[in-house]
Symmetry: C2
Subunit: 334 residues, 2 copies
C-alpha cells in the first residue's frame, strides 16, 4: 500500500486514477497498490481520508457533477504536504512560469524535507530548482522522480539513466511542445496563425490561454529540465534562449514549403567550449530531417552521447494516459 | 575485474576493445574493468592468457598484420567455453541461419550450463533457442543478455524491461535491416537492384554475400528475437512470414514515388485472437509515415503496449561502435 497525497485531479490525475483501478491486479502483482490519503484540487474541492479515498467514487463525482461530493478538508495543499501521513507526494498541478514553479515547488520541498518521496508531472519545480530539490532529497533519504515532465510518459530520464550507462550526454534536440507543432502543421494546410490557435484550443491540444506554448515558455521549461538533468547545466527557464511562433506567417510557411522544407519549433541543448547552452527556436528543416516527418500530434527527442549514435525517441499521438503512465512508472520505481 | 572470454574479434569486437581502452577510467569508476582471458577468431588466430590478454597489442596486431602475433592456443572455442576460467562469455561471431544459430548457440549453452554469464551480439542463439537458454540461465544462476541483437546498442530490450514497467507489449513494427533500407533508398535515386546491392557491399553496409539481407533472413531473425522476448511467442526464424527485396524493380519504386510513397522492408509482430504473429514484408508507406522518413542509414522500432501510445526508437546512422556499446551496456548490467 503506497499512501499517496495527490495535488491536482485534472486529466492526468483522472487518467492515473483510472489506470490504478483498471490495472489494480497487475500492479498488485508488482507489489504496488495506490492508497490516496488526500486529493487536492483548485476547482473540484479537496478530500482527505487516512484510510484511503475511494478513487472510483471521486471519478464518478467529477464525471457527473464536476466536483467531489461530501465534506471537503480545510487544509491547504501546503499544510497537507507538511502534516498528513503519506509515502509519496504526486504533484500534478499545472505549470506556472510567472510564479517560478510555485506553488508546486513548495509542495515538493515540504515533502522532501520530511523524507517523503515526490513524483511530479509538473516541470516547473525541476526547471526552477533542480539542484536544491536533488540535494534536499539526498539529504533526507527521499526520492524525486519526474519522468512525465518531458514527453509525457515516454522514457527520457529513465532511458538515459537505465539504458545508456557509461555514456556522457553531449547534447539533445527535440520537438517537445505539441501545441506549436499542431499549429505549424495546420498552417501548412492553409490556416492562419489565429485560426490554427483557435483550432488547437478547440481540439484540446492547447490550453484556454495558449501563450505559454506560443511564446515558447512550455518548451523552454522542458529544455531547462533536460539541460539540468542530462547536461548537468545550471540553466533555468529564464536562461534558455527562447523563441516562439507568434511571428509566423502564411508567407513564411509557404516559402519554406516551396523549398521542400518545414518550420518546426526545435528545442536544443549542447556543450561548446566547456559551457552548456540551451535554446528554443524556429528552424526551417529539410524534408529529410527526422523531425520534419513528425505529424501534428507527435513529439520527438534525440539524445546525443559520446559513445553512441544519436538515440531518438518518437512518441506517436500521446494522451493524458501517457503522462499518467509516466507517473505510474515513477511510482513503481520508488 | 571481469574475466571475459571473447569469441569473435571483427569490427564489433575491435570497437569494444577500443571502447574499453579509451574509457578505462570511466568504466573503472563504475566498478568495471575488462580482463580478456581468451580471444577466439576464425581468421586472426586465437589467444589465451589467464592473467589477461593485452587488448592494445592485439588491436595493433590486427591493424598491422591482420592476425595475432605470438603463440595461438590449440583449444577450440567450444573447449574454451567449457574449460577456461571466465566470468562472462562475449559472443560476437556472425549469424548463421543455415546452422540454426550454431556454433554460437553451443558456446552460450556451454557457458550458461557452467553458471557463467553470457552476452551476445549474435542474434541466432536467441532466435533459435531463447526458451531453452533462458531456462538454462535461470537454473544455473547465470544471466544471458543480448541488447545488441536488434538495432545495435540502441535500447530495445532494456527499454521495455526498465522503462515500461507494468506495460504489456501488444506489438511492434520496425525497419531493422540496414542493407535493404540502403538498397531501397539507392534505387529511389535511380540505381538498379543489382547496382544498389554492389554499392551496399562496396560501402561496407552489406556483407560480401548479401543474400541474408536481401531475402529477409536477417530481419526475420530479429523479428523472431523480438517476438520471443517482447511478446513471449514461440516463433523461430523459420516461423516468421518472410519476404525480401529480390523482386523489387525500378518500375515499382517509381510507381510508388509517383503516388508520394516509399517501399520499405517492414518488420512486424502482433497478437490477434490470442495468437502471436510475426512477419517481414515489403510495404508501400505513405510519405507521412514515420518509417518513410528514415534515411538510408537509419533504423527504427515502434513498440506498442496496452498502457501507452507507441514509443518509437530511431537510431541515426549507427556504426560498430553502437553494437559494441550495447555489449558494454550488457556487461555493465551483469
Amino acid at each position: 500500500m503506497v499512501k499517496a497525497l495527490m495535488i491536482g485531479f485534472g486529466s492526468v490525475g483522472q487518467a492515473l486514477a483510472r489506470m490504478a483501478i483498471r490495472h489494480e491486479e497487475r500492479l498488485r502483482a508488482r507489489g504496488f497498490a495506490l492508497c490516496p490519503v488526500g486529493v487536492f484540487t483548485r476547482t473540484k474541492g479537496s478530500r482527505v481520508c487516512a484510510e484511503g479515498l475511494d478513487l472510483r467514487a471521486m471519478l464518478d463525482d467529477v464525471e457527473t457533477g464536476g466536483v467531489f461530493r461530501g465534506d471537503c478538508t480545510a487544509l491547504t495543499p501546503l499544510e497537507a504536504c507538511r502534516t498528513l501521513d503519506y509515502d509519496v507526494l504526486i504533484e500534478l498541478s499545472p505549470l506556472s512560469v510567472a510564479h517560478a514553479g510555485e506553488p508546486a515547488l513548495s509542495h515538493i520541498r515540504a515533502a522532501l524535507a520530511r523524507g517523503r518521496n515526490a513524483v511530479t508531472a509538473n516541470k516547473g519545480p525541476v526547471a526552477f530548482a533542480y539542484p536544491e530539490l536533488a540535494a534536499l532529497a539526498r539529504d533526507n533519504g527521499a526520492q524525486l522522480r519526474f519522468e512525465s515532465t518531458v514527453m509525457d510518459g515516454a522514457p527520457v530520464f529513465n532511458l538515459v539513466q537505465r539504458c545508456m550507462k557509461g555514456n556522457r550526454i553531449t547534447g539533445f534536440a527535440g520537438i517537445l511542445n505539441s501545441t506549436t507543432n499542431y499549429i505549424l502543421c495546420r498552417m501548412e494546410e492553409g490556416a492562419s496563425l489565429q485560426e490554427a490557435v483557435e483550432e488547437a484550443v478547440a481540439a484540446g491540444v492547447a490550453e484556454a490561454d495558449p501563450s505559454n506554448d506560443i511564446d515558447g515558455w512550455d518548451a523552454a521549461v522542458k529544455v531547462s529540465v533536460l539541460a539540468r538533468v542530462l547536461l548537468g547545466a545550471d540553466i533555468g527557464p529564464l536562461q534558455v534562449a527562447r523563441g516562439g511562433i507568434r511571428e509566423m506567417t502564411q508567407e513564411a510557411i509557404q516559402a519554406a514549403a516551396a523549398e521542400g522544407k518545414r518550420w518546426k519549433l526545435v528545442c536544443r541543448g549542447w556543450r561548446e567550449n566547456g559551457a552548456a547552452h540551451a535554446a528554443v527556436a524556429l528552424e526551417k528543416l529539410d524534408a529529410a530531417h527526422l523531425f520534419a516527418g513528425l505529424s501534428a500530434y507527435d513529439s520527438a527527442l534525440s539524445i546525443e552521447s559520446d559513445m553512441m549514435a544519436p538515440n531518438c525517441i518518437v512518441q506517436k499521438g500521446p494522451s493524458p494516459m501517457d503522462t499518467a503512465f509516466g507517473v505510474l512508472e515513477d511510482l513503481l520505481s520508488l
